[in-house]
C-alpha cells in the first residue's frame, strides 16, 4: 500500500482538559508521532504540538 507520510501534524489548540488524553493517543496512533509537547494555554485549555514523527526520529 502506498501513501505519503505526512509532514508533522499541525499543533491542535484550544483542547478541553477532558480531551487531552484522547488527542495525544490519536497523534501517537494515527500520525506516528513519537514526541509531543502539551502546554496549557492562558484560557485554561491545552495546545498539543507534535515534535517528532516515527520515521524522523533518526534525524
Amino acid at each position: 500500500m502506498s501513501y505519503s507520510q505526512p509532514e508533522l501534524p499541525k499543533p491542535l489548540a484550544d483542547i478541553p482538559k477532558e480531551n487531552v488524553g484522547q488527542v495525544v493517543q490519536s497523534f501517537i496512533d494515527n500520525d506516528g508521532v513519537r514526541k509531543l509537547k502539551v502546554e496549557q494555554q492562558p484560557n485554561g485549555s491545552f495546545i498539543i504540538t507534535p515534535q517528532i514523527l516515527e520515521n524522523l526520529d533518526c534525524l
Binding site: M1, S2, Y3, S4, P6, E7, L8, P9, K10, P11, L12, A13, D14, I15, P16, N19, Q22, V23, S26, F27, D29, N30, D31, S45, I47, P50
Partner: protein, 408 residues
C-alpha cells in the same frame, strides 16, 4: 536560361519568406522585451508587475492560477510578470474604513476605492488622487534605436526622447512618479474570500488538484499606481570620440537651444511641446521639461492613474472545493518558505468520535484513511488534526459517508 530564371524566382521567394519570418521574430522579441524589461523595473521594487498597465485591477480581485508553481516561477523569470487572465470574481473589501480609520476621504465616500480612481479635476494626477502615496526609486537604463533594445519601456517618452536627440543610443533614468498605493488587510479579505468560496465550493471543486498539480486562487490585496513617468536621457554619441558633438545636429529641433537666451529657450520648449502633443498616444501626454543637444527630459502624464504592480496571496484549491492556507504570491515566486506553522483549533463533533473509534477498531482503517486523504489532496494534513479540528467538520462528514462508518 529557363532554369536560371527558375532559380532566381525561387531564391526571391525564399528571401521574401525568410525576411517575413525574420521580421516577425524580431518584432516578437522586441515586444517580449518591452514586457519583460518594464516588469524587471517594477519587480525591483518588490512588487509583482502588471503588464500591460491597467486601470482595472483592484484589491479583492480573485484570479484562477492553473499552472503549477514550477511553471509559474519559470514564467515569472522568463517573462518578468505573471499573466492574470482568469478573473473569477471581484470581491468588494468591506474593511477599508477600519483599515484606514476613515482617513483619505473614506468616511465621506461610500465607494472606496473607486473615489480614489475618479477624483476631482486637476491638471496634475498627483492632485487628483486622495489615495495614500508611494514612492519609487529611479531606474537607470540604456536604449538603442531599432533592434537590440537593452531596455524597452511601455512609455512613449523613451523613443520620443531618442528621436528628439537624433541619437542612435542613449542612457538615462526613469522615475515612476505620482505613485499611489492602496490595499486591505489579508485577514479581512481572506474571510471574504472564504465566505465566497464556501458558497461556490461546487464550482471550485472543478479545479481540484489532479496528478499532484494544484490550482490556486490568487487574491490581490494591494495595488500600486502611477500617474506620471519621468524620463531623462543623455545621448551616448556625444561622449564618443567619433561623435559629431555639440550642436552638430542641424536637423534636430533642439540643437540651437544652448545658444539661445532664456526667452528663446522658453519659446523653443513651447514649440517642442506643441510638436510632442501630436506625437502623444491616447494613453497619456508628454511634456518636455528640459532639453539640450545632448540631453532631454520628458514627463509623461497618464490621464488616470494606472496600476503597475500588486501584492497578493495564493490559496490552494483542495479536493472538495475548500481552500488551503494562504501563501504570499511573492514568497511562492521567490521560493521563500514564509508559511508559518498553522495551528488547528479544536472543534470536536459527533463524527470525531465515530472516526476515532473506527480507527481504533482496525489498524487497517488507518492505512485506508491515509490513502484516501492523500488522493483527495490532503497529503500534508495530519489525521488527528482532521479528526478533531474545527475546520475539518465538512471533511469528517465525507469520511463517515465514504467509509460508511456506522453511527452508534
Amino acid at each position: 536560361m529557363k532554369r536560371s530564371y527558375f532559380i532566381q524566382t525561387f531564391a526571391a521567394i525564399v528571401c521574401i519568406g525568410l525576411s517575413g519570418c525574420d521580421t516577425t521574430g524580431i518584432n516578437g522579441k522586441q515586444l517580449a522585451h518591452v514586457a519583460k524589461d518594464w516588469s524587471l523595473v517594477v519587480r525591483a521594487s518588490q512588487i509583482i508587475p502588471v503588464y500591460p498597465l491597467t486601470e482595472d485591477l483592484l484589491p479583492g480581485d480573485v484570479f484562477l492560477v492553473q499552472s503549477p508553481i514550477e511553471d509559474q516561477v519559470k514564467n515569472y523569470q522568463n517573462k518578468g510578470f505573471l499573466p492574470l487572465d482568469q478573473l473569477l470574481v471581484r470581491l468588494q473589501p468591506t474593511n477599508y474604513s477600519n483599515f484606514y480609520l476613515g482617513a483619505y476621504g473614506i468616511d465621506s465616500q461610500t465607494n472606496t476605492p473607486y473615489h480614489w480612481k475618479f477624483s476631482r479635476e486637476s491638471p496634475t494626477t498627483d492632485q487628483r488622487v486622495d489615495a495614500p502615496w508611494a514612492a519609487f526609486p529611479s531606474y537607470s537604463f540604456t536604449v538603442r534605436l531599432g533592434a537590440g533594445l537593452n531596455l524597452a519601456l511601455p512609455v512613449q517618452g523613451v523613443p520620443v526622447a531618442l528621436n528628439l536627440m537624433g541619437a542612435r543610443s542613449a542612457h538615462g533614468s526613469i522615475t515612476i512618479a505620482d505613485a499611489h498605493t492602496y490595499g486591505i488587510d489579508v485577514f479581512s479579505l481572506r474571510e471574504q474570500v472564504e465566505e465566497w468560496a464556501y458558497e461556490h465550493s461546487a464550482r471550485l471543486a472543478e479545479y481540484a488538484p489532479t496528478n499532484h498539480k494544484a490550482n490556486y486562487l490568487r487574491v490581490v490585496n494591494r495595488v500600486f499606481l502611477t500617474g506620471r513617468v519621468n524620463v531623462s536621457m543623455i545621448s551616448d554619441e556625444s561622449f564618443g570620440a567619433a561623435a559629431s558633438g555639440g550642436a552638430g545636429k542641424s536637423s534636430s529641433i533642439l540643437s540651437f537651444v544652448p545658444d539661445d537666451t532664456g526667452t528663446n529657450l522658453e519659446n523653443t520648449l513651447n514649440s517642442v511641446n506643441a510638436s510632442l502633443e501630436s506625437a502623444a498616444l491616447p494613453g497619456g501626454t508628454l511634456k518636455l521639461i528640459a532639453a539640450s543637444s545632448r540631453t532631454v527630459s520628458l514627463a509623461e502624464t497618464f490621464p488616470k492613474p494606472l496600476v503597475i504592480g500588486y501584492l497578493g496571496f495564493d490559496l490552494p484549491i483542495l479536493a472538495d472545493g475548500r481552500l488551503g492556507p494562504s501563501v504570499p504570491t511573492q514568497a511562492r515566486l521567490t521560493k521563500v518558505q514564509t508559511n508559518p506553522v498553522r495551528i488547528i483549533v479544536f472543534g470536536e463533533d459527533a463524527n470525531s468520535a465515530r472516526i476515532d473509534l473506527w480507527l481504533k477498531n482496525d489498524a487497517r482503517n488507518r492505512d485506508q484513511l491515509r490513502l484516501w486523504l492523500d488522493q483527495q489532496g490532503y497529503a500534508a494534513h495530519g489525521v488527528t488534526d482532521i479528526i478533531f479540528g474545527k475546520q475539518y467538520a465538512d471533511l469528517r462528514t465525507k469520511i463517515v459517508s465514504h467509509f460508511q462508518i456506522q453511527i452508534r
